[in-house]
Amino acid sequence: MSGPEVYSNGAPRIGVYVCHCGLNIAGKVDVREVAAFARELPFVVVAREYKFMCADPGQELIREDIRQLNLNRVVVASCSPLLHEATFRRALEQAGQNPFFFQMVNIREQVSWVTKDPRQATEKAKALVAAAVRRVILHEPLQRRRVPVKDRVLVVGGGIAGIHAALTLADAGKRVYLVEREPTIGGHMAMFDKTFPTLDCAACILTPKMSAVASHPNITLWTYSEVIGVEGFVGNFRVRVRRKPRYVIEELCVGCMQCVDACVYKDARFPDEFNMGLGKRKPIYIPFPQATPRVVLIDPETCIRLKTGKCRQTCMGACDRKAIDFEQQERIEEIEVGAIILATGFKAFDPRRIPEYGYGKYPNVYTALEVERLVNAAGPTGGEVRLRDGRVPQRVGIIHCVGSRSKRFNRYCSRVCCMYSLKLAHLIKERTGAEVYNFYIDMRTPGKGYEEFYDRLLHEGVHFIRGRVAEVTDWAITPEEEGKLILRVEDTMIGVVRRIPVDMVVLAVGLEPQPDADAVRRMFNISCGNEGFFLERHPKLAPVSTFTDGIFLAGACQGPKDIPDSVAQAGAAAAEALALIDKGYVELEPNTAYIAEELCSGCKTCIGLCPYRAISFDEARAVAVVNEALCKGCGTCVGACPSGAAQQHLFEDAQIFQEIEGVLAYV
């Protein structure tokens, strides 16, 4: 297999640039030796090493050499192409060269940072440079494909992050679809009473935003709905949304609740999800008074009419707007959007997985979310902290790090539990006057005003005991412990195992990925980190982008975070989406496949392999044809073509053969 007879762009004149990256590369790789080695490679006109190639003087070095030495190909040996390929391609462009006469060598992430021995690191760097030089000789001038971008954004998840992102985009004049799978937006924040550290009421700051979403002319709000399919690519996603039947016509219902009063169940008797099962609701209900949209829904699992078909249907009679429709079916909506923001949030750790804490066994062991509902004035107890038997607790123990910072469950810190535990300690003490004990491993309170809040609690007479609780038991061994829950813990400050009897145990459960995060990730074609949260493109420099262009992340679906961070990230995601769609077009990497028709035997092997149906068969000429607009550039057809007719721009067979020889020629 030989290369083209005549090189594109005239005789190759290659410049090789070896980056020190401060000491990141130069500390391990002998950059001078690599540059000297490159100087001897075929067609290399100049090889330089420089402290920071990505900085402007480094780029200027390339531009200057292109102008002065008539370079027509450039190799930069520095960090990963995933980081700076675009930077250097731009430098070529600025100097009047086609940006694709460029090849990047990854000698930082894949050499200097992962190789112990400097000698071996230098040899590996040389081999990779040799491969790149050989490859770039065969590069071709290419044009990026420009495709228009749909001027609309889909936001998935209606918690505080999704709400903030949707409002930001809508205020900028963009059409937004906000899809939430629960019957109301608001997410976890709507369940909270107060927010730390300022103790302002969650509802007071959240509900105005919720109603702004409902009334915003640019937002289409679909609650009780789920995304079931995503196709397409950046700028042009086609999304299918399933709208589950509420059995109430959303457009007609005004939320007067007369149907709820009229329900044949005179008393609410089914566990209320919004109140974590601590309260009761009827089969026809509204999750909470400020639910948005303020539209009732009927639960098909408990409604007699929907279960048996037989009911007096008093709700229907009560509705003078005729909004109740038992025949309602699910609907599938199809939309086209340019960008997608995922704000699907988190799930609280299920403490049943830690049997020794007795959750589900002892009625007075609560999760923090349950206590949030108890202290909430709109909650099942009207804001009074009561045990399940109605007593007011005298002593309360809060166990930190439940499911977090543990090799058994999740190794990461959930970031919010210390602060919300302090908040709950404050609120419980305020409401009940109880003695409150915090059992912590380390107090983690970084954040504006957070440490000050901790300090305040220390002076409010809340007790802090440093140690991970071993078990919660009702096995009393002294008369004072009778009828109490006893927390057994090693107080590591004094090195003594203690038994603390309390009436109420609060488990500060950590944050976990949503149980279906993996399915969602697959549907949107993005990645998850080891712990299961969605993976950002770069932990520092692209924290809201994903590896799939046009899909952005906001809030706790990317990792545990508190409300201020979620909101900040939502704003960032909205800005990124805005930058994308406002431009009006995207440029796609020109790595599409094409068919060298003179080589194509018409065997049609490629056609069935293409996952995007981008290849068709031209019966008249008996050759395969690639539709460039549909091709995503995976190269699967290229790898399979028996005659070598299918080829891929930027990843030509000949280029890869050169790379193979290059890395092996200088081992």
Binding site: S2, G3, F43, S527
Partner: protein, 169 residues
């Protein structure tokens, strides 16, 4: 490295070429770097967009050019950025293994692994393990020495600036 003593694994440094897909395994290799997870320097990584791009010829050419082992890295099943390229890679891989066996090349010299973008530690583990496997197998002896069919002309016309008039030899 012209001297390549055989066999007992003492002074033999395996030559390994790794083809990693851009979305998962190549990214994971970057992550290994960011986490400073050192691993054997033997593997030289070539980036392809998808493991589905792996032309069986790449593997054969790599052995022909003097590699002792070939590693292919793709996304986990169901995770392919291009939906199913990794399944195509798997099919070709199984076929190639049979072919290698028929050619008298130990099939362990070719390995396909699934490594997601977040599994930097797996890159370290796999490369180290594979390097050790190849070290135990010893050098791949294909006779005669590979003829380099794809070399551009090694010598350049004097004086600079270089001008290359012909095609590739």
């Amino acid at each position: 490295m012209s001297e390549r003593p055989a066999g007992n694994g003492k002074s033999f440094e395996p030559r390994i070429v790794a083809f990693f897909c851009s979305w998962c395994t190549y990214t994971a290799a970057d992550l290994a770097g960011i986490a400073r997870l050192a691993y054997a320097p033997n593997a030289r990584i070539i980036r392809i967009m998808c493991s589905g791009r792996m032309d069986p010829q790449f593997v054969l050419a790599t052995f022909r050019q003097g590699a002792d082992g070939v590693l292919i890295g793709g996304c986990h099943p169901g995770d392919c950025h291009y939906q199913e390229g990794n399944y195509k890679a798997l099919r070709r891989y199984l076929l190639l293994k049979r072919l290698l066996r028929d050619l008298g090349i130990e099939e362990e010299r070719l390995r396909l692994v699934w490594i997601s973008a977040s599994e930097g530690d797996l890159v370290q583990k796999v490369v180290n393990e594979f390097t050790e496997t190849i070290r135990q197998l010893g050098p791949l002896r294909l006779a005669p020495q590979p003829r380099r069919t794809h070399l551009p002309a090694p010598a350049q016309p004097e004086p600079q600036p270089a001008v290359w008039e012909g095609g590739l030899p």
